[in-house]
């Protein structure tokens, strides 16, 4: 222990500015904290030491806070490592960058359930004492972080914690209401204590919630996130990047496009330290989405008029629907105003004169002449349909403005399909066909079904060649059959097309009942956002941020002869893992893979050393296989085990998994490699050795 501490101090002195030093300190603190936890395993020791240790550290903390104009975020005391603590205080004095180190260290420490009770109580106290100074994510902080080539792995790690913790919560509201939400295992053990805390702190919680929402940093983050002109959280992406490479990865893993609203949201949420604050920020985002919808303002970082991309995550699809609905509402307003003004002008034209010459002067108003010579206003006409003319009147055929179909995200598609399968309904098709018929009639007075079919379903009409050749036939007013005919299937008795045609009335599209109600659709989405399960939200954000990091890293590493193979192994691994449905079981592995890529970018020498060690071990065993292929095997085997086991066993496995991931990332990592792939049997000692060296502890 002393030796390790010495190493830590030594490295801090010589290279405290480097990313490597930051990473080392974080990792070392993991180790130190775990050892402390082991020492405190005895209940007597815990209860005996707690009052003593807590008091002096608190005093020291207060004293430091007071003596310095700067405030630091409270961190759990490291019992027995007074020297380590004092070193941190020294580092804090040196400048702002050290504060960032502190944030990362705190981030790591929060994963330890041992301190949760103290953490919460002291955190509340700290909040009361120095609310405004609390180290929360800010626009400045996040903007500074974009100088890193890819988002820090600590951000992704926090989202991973949220995915796992969120899977134990019932809803987002439970997360907000829960005082110790990030430690379900701990909470289970101390139910009575939790109940007492809930009673005592209920009033304070409400106060904290409203204070969070109006916190200046939160407001600034919301404004920057939704600023359509801003370049908040924009990173330098290689300009030589192949378009397909950058856009294909997010879709392969069901994420979101780079620099989209989803990815930026993921980066912000991943910087919050508690699950509860993440949930509160999400609620604030939903409130902002409601405001934008009410004001009919587009969401930035989302296409304005695209149907949902089913290969992206559901959250991104839902954002697309919101923007598409805004576009449709705007268009309908314009079309309605245009139609209304045309009708007003038509009325004034009629009042002025009923002469035929009025037709020429009223150019914006379109008329069609019936066989009786009567002029009828065309409503909702869009543009001429080629050189088609109406069969009976000879007037030009106009394509009408038509209603657009429903905007369906993947969840609604599944529901629609199940509905059709259950009921046999063809309602959607009939509704659209009827709507088209009514719009066509309004735009083409004097039309008949044959005219509509020629426009809507050309293959169902056959022109009479004789009439085409002989222009005199038309002038002589020969019967309809001389000019062409409907297809046999369309002439068939009981054909639904004819029945619909006879039912339809001439009504322009903008005056029809909507086929797809934008208000209803968006309200459904916003309600779904409020009710969204935490693991669903954080899972999508996790995958999206993962895709961004890999997308940016690819052009930097693909040309590097040392790292390109390892990078593509990592990429293959994440694609395979994300295409599976059980993301919760894979987030830890994905974070480790991401950390490897981060290391290749920020600390290439260390990464190169790791690769060489792996290669040497692989060569010795005589089986040159990638460590990530092995990872896939392990996870594949795990999935099969889960599939075979009884539901009770599954529950137990989930509990164990949760406990492990929260006790220590290192424990999780060791258990990851400790599990044997069932098909390949027990790995040989040398293979096991190579697995261990694949993930060296720095």
């Amino acid at each position: 222990m002393e030796e390790e501490q010495q190493t830590f101090v030594s490295k801090a002195r010589t290279a405290f500015h480097s990313a490597a030093a930051k990473a080392e300190r974080v990792l070392l603190d993991f180790k130190s904290d775990r050892e402390d936890h082991d020492k405190q395993s005895s209940p007597n020791t815990f209860t005996g030491q707690q009052p003593e240790a807590e008091s002096p550290h608190t005093d020291e903390n207060d004293s430091k806070l007071h003596s310095e104009s700067k405030h630091i975020k409270w961190r759990p005391p490291h019992l027995g490592i007074k020297q380590d603590w004092q070193d941190k205080i020294k580092n804090i004095r040196r400048g702002r960058k050290e504060v960032e180190d502190t944030d990362k260290v705190g981030d790591a420490s929060m994963a330890i359930p041992f301190y949760d009770d103290n953490l919460y109580l002291l955190n509340v106290k700290n909040d009361l004492e120095a609310k405004a100074s609390e180290a929360m994510p800010s626009v400045e902080g996040l903007t500074a972080a974009t100088k890193d080539p890819i988002p820090p792995s600590s951000v992704l790690k926090q989202l991973a914690i949220a995915v796992e913790a969120g899977s134990k919560a019932k809803s987002m509201k439970d997360v907000i209401a829960s005082p110790g939400g990030s430690s379900p295992a701990r909470e289970r053990a101390g139910l009575s204590l939790s109940a007492v805390k809930a009673l005592v702190l209920r009033e304070k919680e409400d106060k904290l919630t409203s204070e969070f929402t109006s916190n200046e940093k939160v407001v600034q983050l919301i404004n920057s996130l939704f600023d359509p002109e801003g370049d908040f959280l924009r990173r330098k992406i290689d300009s030589n990047l192949e378009e397909t490479a950058m856009t294909s990865l997010p879709r392969d893993i069901h994420g979101a496009p780079p620099e989209s609203l989803v990815v930026k949201l993921a980066e912000i949420l991943g910087n919050y330290k508690t699950l509860r604050k993440m949930a509160l920020f999400w609620c604030r985002v939903v409130a902002e989405l409601r405001k934008l919808w009410f004001e009919e303002q587009y969401l930035p970082g989302v296409p304005q008029d695209e149907i949902p991309d089913l290969k992206s995550c559901l959250l991104y699809q839902q954002f697309q629907v919101i923007n598409c609905c805004i576009s449709r509402k705007r268009f309908r307003i314009i079309a309605t105003e245009s139609l209304d003004s045309m009708m007003m002008q038509a009325n004034s034209d009629i009042k002025e004169s009923t002469d035929c010459s009025a037709e020429a002067s009223a150019s914006p108003v379109l008329y069609a002449r019936l066989n009786s010579g009567e002029l009828v206003l065309r409503l909702g006409a869009d543009h001429p349909a080629g050189d088609m003319t109406l069969l009976e009147t000879g007037e030009p055929v106009y394509s009408p403005i038509t209603q657009e179909g429903p905007l369906l995200t993947e969840d609604l598609i599944r529901e629609t399909e199940e509905f059709v399968l259950r009921t046999g309904s063809v309602g959607a098709g009939c509704s659209q066909l009827l709507s088209d018929m009514q719009a066509f009639k309004a735009a083409n007075p004097g039309c008949i079904l044959e005219d509509f079919v020629r426009w809507h379903s050309p293959p169902d009409w056959t022109d009479n060649e004789a009439s085409t050749e002989d222009s005199d036939v038309f002038d002589s007013g020969e019967p309809l059959s001389a000019r062409g005919q409907l297809s046999r299937r369309m002439q068939k008795e009981g054909n639904l097309w004819r029945e619909l045609w006879e039912t339809s009335k001439p009504v322009p599209a903008v005056k029809q009942a909507p086929l797809f109600d934008e208000d209803l659709a968006v309200e459904g989405i916003l309600n779904a956002f409020e009710e969204m399960h935490p693991s669903d939200l954080f899972g999508q954000l996790f995958v999206s941020l993962l895709g961004l990091g890999f997308g940016i890293a690819e052009p930097m590493l693909s040309g590097n002869s040392d790292f390109s193979k390892l990078f593509y192994d990592c990429k293959e691994y994440i694609i395979t893992a994300c295409q599976n449905n059980k993301l919760n079981e894979k987030v830890d592995g994905l974070v480790q893979v991401y950390e490897t890529v981060e290391k290749m970018l920020l600390n290439p020498e260390e990464a190169l050393k790791m690769i060489k060690q792996t290669e040497e071990s692989t060569t010795v065993t005589g089986e040159p296989r990638s460590p990530f292929k092995r990872l896939s095997l392990i996870f594949g085997g795990k999935d099969k085990l889960l599939r075979k086991s009884v539901s009770k066993d599954q529950t137990n496995d989930e509990e164990k998994s949760g406990r492990q991931s929260f006790s220590s990332f290192f424990d999780s990592k060791s258990s990851l490699f400790g599990k044997k792939p069932p098909k390949s049997g027990s790995p040989s000692p040398s293979e096991k050795s190579s697995i261990d060296t694949g993930w060296p502890v720095v």
């Binding site: 149907i307 089913l310 290969k311 038509t402 657009e404 179909g405 429903p406 369906l408 993947e410 598609i413 599944r414 629609t416 399909e417 199940e418 059709v420 399968l421 259950r422 009921t423 046999g424 309904s425 063809v426 309602g427 959607a428 098709g429 009939c430 509704s431 659209q432 066909l433 009827l434 088209d436 809507h456 379903s457 293959p459 169902d460 297809s487 046999r488 299937r489 369309m490 068939k492 009981g494 054909n495 639904l496 097309w497 619909l500």
Partner: protein, 211 residues
């Protein structure tokens, strides 16, 4: 024209098949011919329709849910949602109308690329109406060339004479079963449906009520 619907516990795999192609090439006729041997003229499909068929291929009992789409351009967006998670897609053209063949590469294969969420889905090219050989406008060689471009099989059929109709669906099912990821999906779908005993699938009539 009632379709036979398998019991939820009576089959091993469940696959979703999609029929696409220009209007009037005979998609609905192919489907009805496969399901019930009927050869009568069918009204143009409005929107989407479906039929369910169980059959045994390669020793496995399969349940095929076959979605029949209207080929008119106005219905294209409406039907794009049915591409989702389809394991098999049948692209149909009319051998007597060259335009329907051209549109497979210019229109329909692009729709598949855009809307299909299943990268491994199996495609099959079907040239229909070969019974009207005197009016043929697309040769078999041209069909084979396009099938090669699209990376799929070609079968020439006649819904009227039922030539190659069953082979078309069976060949597609066999190809789907050869893909591990699709096999897994088909197996998963069966397990999921067992948990929903109340869900009864039934064939729809074109006369279904409008909403």
């Amino acid at each position: 024209m009632s379709s036979s619907s398998g019991q939820s516990s009576g089959y091993d795999l469940s696959f979703k098949i999609l029929l696409i192609g220009d209007s009037g090439v005979g998609k609905s006729s192919l489907l009805v011919s496969f399901i019930s041997s009927s050869v009568e003229d069918l009204s143009p499909t409005i929107g989407v329709d479906f039929k369910i068929k169980t059959l045994t291929v390669g020793g496995k009992r399969l349940k095929l849910t076959i979605w029949d789409t209207a080929g008119q351009e106005r219905f294209r967006t409406l039907n794009s949602s049915y591409y989702r998670k389809a394991q098999g897609i049948i692209l149909v053209y009319d051998v007597t109308r060259r335009e329907t063949f051209t549109n497979l590469s210019e229109v329909w294969s692009k729709e598949v690329e855009l809307y299909s969420t299943n990268q491994d889905c199996v495609k099959i090219l079907v040239g229909n109406k070969v019974d009207r050989d005197t009016e043929r406008a697309v040769s078999r060689e041209e069909g084979l060339a396009l099938a090669k471009d699209l990376g799929c099989l070609l079968l020439e059929c006649s819904a009227k004479t039922r030539e190659n109709v069953e082979q078309c669906f069976e060949e597609l099912a066999l190809k789907i079963m050869e893909a591990p990821s699709l096999l897994e999906e088909g197996s998963t779908a069966v397990k999921r449906s067992v948990l929903k005993p109340k869900q009864e699938s039934q064939a729809s009539q074109n006369g279904g009520c409008c909403s």
